[in-house]
Symmetry: C2
Subunit: 149 residues, 2 copies
C-alpha cells in the first residue's frame, strides 16, 4: 500500500513536468471502451464460427449471453467525452442518435439472450441475426485503425 502511494505520488510529480498533450485518464477511458468493444468483436467472431458450422454449437447460448452482458456495459464506456481510438467525433456530436442506437443494441441483445436460454437454438440464431447489425453503427461511428506492429 505504501509502495502504491509512493508510486502514485511519483507519477503526480512527473505529470507536472510533462506537457499536457494527453491526460493519462484520457488514455484509460479510451482503453476501457476498447476492452469492451474488443470483447464484442471476439464474441461475435466466435459466434460467427458456430453459425458457419465450423465449430460445434455447445457454447452458443453462453456466447449470446456474453454479448448481451457486454452490450449492456458499452454505452457507459462512451459517456466521457474523450475523443480518440477508433471512435469518430460523431459519437459525441450526434450523441442522441449514438446513445439511442447503443441502448437499442443492449435491448435487442438482451432479448436475444432470453430467447437463447428459453427457446430453441434456431430461434436464438434468428434473433442474433436481427440483433447483431454491428456494421450499420460502425460505418457511422467507427474509424477502424490498423493494429500497431
Amino acid at each position: 500500500m505504501k509502495q502504491m502511494a509512493t508510486r502514485i505520488s511519483s507519477i503526480a510529480m512527473l505529470a507536472t513536468l510533462l506537457p499536457a498533450v494527453v491526460r493519462a485518464d484520457d488514455k484509460e477511458v479510451i482503453d476501457y471502451r476498447e476492452h469492451i468493444m474488443n470483447t464484442l468483436n471476439e464474441q461475435a467472431a466466435a459466434l460467427g464460427q458456430i453459425l458457419s458450422g465450423t465449430i460445434p454449437d455447445d457454447n452458443l447460448v453462453a456466447h449470446l449471453e456474453t454479448i448481451a452482458l457486454t452490450a449492456s456495459t458499452a454505452l457507459k464506456s462512451f459517456e466521457p467525452k474523450v475523443q480518440g481510438g477508433e471512435a469518430k467525433p460523431e459519437v459525441w456530436s450526434k450523441w442522441p442518435d449514438f446513445s439511442k442506437r447503443m441502448n437499442e443494441f443492449a435491448q435487442k441483445t438482451a432479448e436475444m439472450a432470453k430467447i437463447a436460454k428459453e427457446k430453441s437454438k434456431d430461434e436464438a440464431v434468428a434473433s442474433a441475426l436481427d440483433a447483431l447489425t454491428c456494421k450499420s453503427c460502425h460505418d457511422e461511428y467507427r474509424q477502424e485503425k490498423k493494429k500497431a506492429g
Copy 2:
C-alpha cells in the same frame, strides 16, 4: 443456402489440390479458443482498470458475470487436440491437470458472479481476486506470442 453449398463444394475441391500442411479446421479450432481467451483478457483488463480506481465501477457486476460465462466456455474450446497458437503442448499431455484447473476456474468465477449479483461490491472484489489467478495456469500452459505487425 445454394450459394453456401457451392462455396463449400469449391473449397472441398480446392482442398484436394493443396498440400495438407495445415487443415483448415485446425486453424478454425485455434482461432475459436483464442476468441475465448482474448475475451477473458479484455474483460480482465477492464476489471483491472476498475479495481485500480481509474474507471468508475458501474459495470463491475457485468464484467464479473461476463468473465464467469466466458470461463464456462473455455474448456470445451481446448477439447480438440489441435496444437498451435499460444497453447503449449502440455495442455494435452497434462490434460487431467489442465482440465481440472479449467473446471475450477469456471466454478470459482461462477461463485464470484453469484456473489457480485447478491452481495456487496467489496465481497465481489475479494472473490474476484481469489478466482482470477490467471498467471499460475498461463505460466504452465501458455506460450505468449508477439502479435503480428
